[in-house]
Amino acid sequence: MAQLFLYLTLAGYFGATLLWLGFFVVQREGYCRWGARVMGGGLAAHTLALIQQTWSVGYLPVSTFGNTLLVFDWTLVAVFLLLNWRYPIKVLGALVAPLAALLVSGALILPQGQGTVSPLLQGFWVTVHISLTLMGYAALALAFLGGIFYLIQERQIKAKKFGFFYRRLPSLSQLDTLNYWCLSIGFPLLTGGIISGSLYAQHTMGRFWSWDPKEILTLLAWLIYAVLLHERLTVGWRGRRAAWLAICGFLVLVCTFVGASLWLTGYHSFGKFLQQP
């Protein structure tokens, strides 16, 4: 059943990808309106899939890398649609939709983990920790995508060479506002994720911080974002510098998410998450 919903989700996101890319190339309003609708349909199927999975296992399905990708993808699409509704930067869909489609495909290809999850990692606070972190990732991922657009557009205006992207990308100020908006939402969420995780660690293991590889990398990313936000508010770092920092910060986050989960060891890795039966 969940599998069926996931295929519907995949179809929705791929459909939305085609529509948004179509919009990007021919710049017709209708395409992006339908892109948002199809993506919304995909999100609905995605939601049902997640509910079904949660129902059947009894907790938020984040015990394998694939499942976590799905949850992250859901937050990404939800945050994007929210953003698109309140503060539309339409071309962003041309990056978010393919990314969402790829993440669902990845989740479907990756092996489904079998086994039971340690009761230590099942509680309400673990769910809070994971949800906050993933929502933070989603907002910061949008800042990352916006940063790429910013760098492309800024480069064209500075170099005075106007190519394919110049007309299709929004103004620098819009892209910079996007950076700020995503940062001011994503950073508190990430902070909340870290704090809730460390409180829970204190509660269960008796220590706030255990220098697990994932924790170290996340701290690094958090510091990058903290510096960016601080400098933005005090001396007005913006534009190119803000875009680069948002990109760097997110790349570090990707390392924590993918790297710490697949290659590094520590209690955050998905390999340790499941107790082999």
């Binding site: 005075k160 929004p170 001396v235």
Partner: protein, 431 residues
Amino acid sequence: MNLLLFGVNHKTAALSLREKLASLIPDLGQTYQSLKAWPELSEVLLYTTCNRVELLGVTEEPEAADVRVRAFFAGHPEITAAALEESFYLRRDQEAVQHLFRVAASLDSMVVGEPQILGQMKAAYRAATEHGATGPILNRLLHKAFSVAKRVRYETGIGDHAVSVSYAAVTLSRKIFGELSGKNVLLLGAGEMAELALEHLRGQGVARITVANRTLSRGVRLAARFQGEAVSLEELEPQLLVADILISSTGADHYLLTRDQVKAVMRRRKQRPLFLIDIAVPRDLDPAINDLDNVYLYNIDDLEEVAEQGLQHRRQEAAKAERMVAAETLKFQDWLATLEAFPTIIALKDKAEAICQAELKKTLSQLGPVTPEQRQALEVLTSSITQKLLHHPIIYLKRNHHLKRPHRELNLVRRLFNLDPDDIDNNSEKN
């Protein structure tokens, strides 16, 4: 029925000739009165812009109408017949339709893709309808022209790129700042191009305009024109703290702003973006300023390059637009052709009906008394035979396969069914 389009435009006639021709139409009401009085033209539309004077008419006698219109335009005392002959063009039927569509879609303009022409044509058409000068054919043609122009604007990028230096400055500002409302503009010096750019920026709703000039009185005058404020050139740095867009066009022989000055200003501005437009020759602003983050410096050469790129882009898009115009012209031509077929179709039906009635009368008189049912059956029989017989010829006429020579086809049908018994010889001679 023929469509004729006469006129001169910027390609065929010098401005002085266009002005003289336009002066022949001092008052539209009066002009339309006299045009409507001509028996040769059943519908007429006049439109003049700074680049063209054109007259579009529907006529049954193209030769006579041609003579009339030429005489009308030669009416100006200072226009010689030779000058008129040289620059006047006459387009007929399909060419006239295509020409009109091209004009409305701004493909025939001096600056391809400029949006004003459509508004001017709409106004001219409104005036013509108010004076009752247009009829069913021109009404349909003009509405079609407006919709073609709209499609061209939306479906091609013909109007997307700035093609003038002053407007290029505005589009760049919009790519940097997004909305320009709430932005402050600082003008250094004065000059035609700078003022034009300022005019455009004001059209985009900028918040405040400040003019800094070496001679304060000139600055005050200029500021008054744009409802702005005048300051002296010494206040440049403090003014830069609040400005977002700076247009510089002074006659200074040294840089008014150096990289280090702007760098210091940017720090105090908390890096809010700054767009500097240097249209002075020699340059007022140090080119190295462009290396600073969040500062965008464009000089006159850069802007001209942007405008040139825009022009090239418009030319490419114009090719697409030409294809759309050509397709729409053919469609309109189809409609006109069906219009031409209608009299023939009616004549055909009338003739069939007449034959039915005559034959019915003859037969009934021979049959003697019949019941009303029998009589009705006979009527149904005859009419259904003729209807079935005529069905395909009528469909054929409506579709009008022979687009290039519709008259020949119509004439063939008319001769085949002998619809014009009087001039049957005439027709055979013509074809």
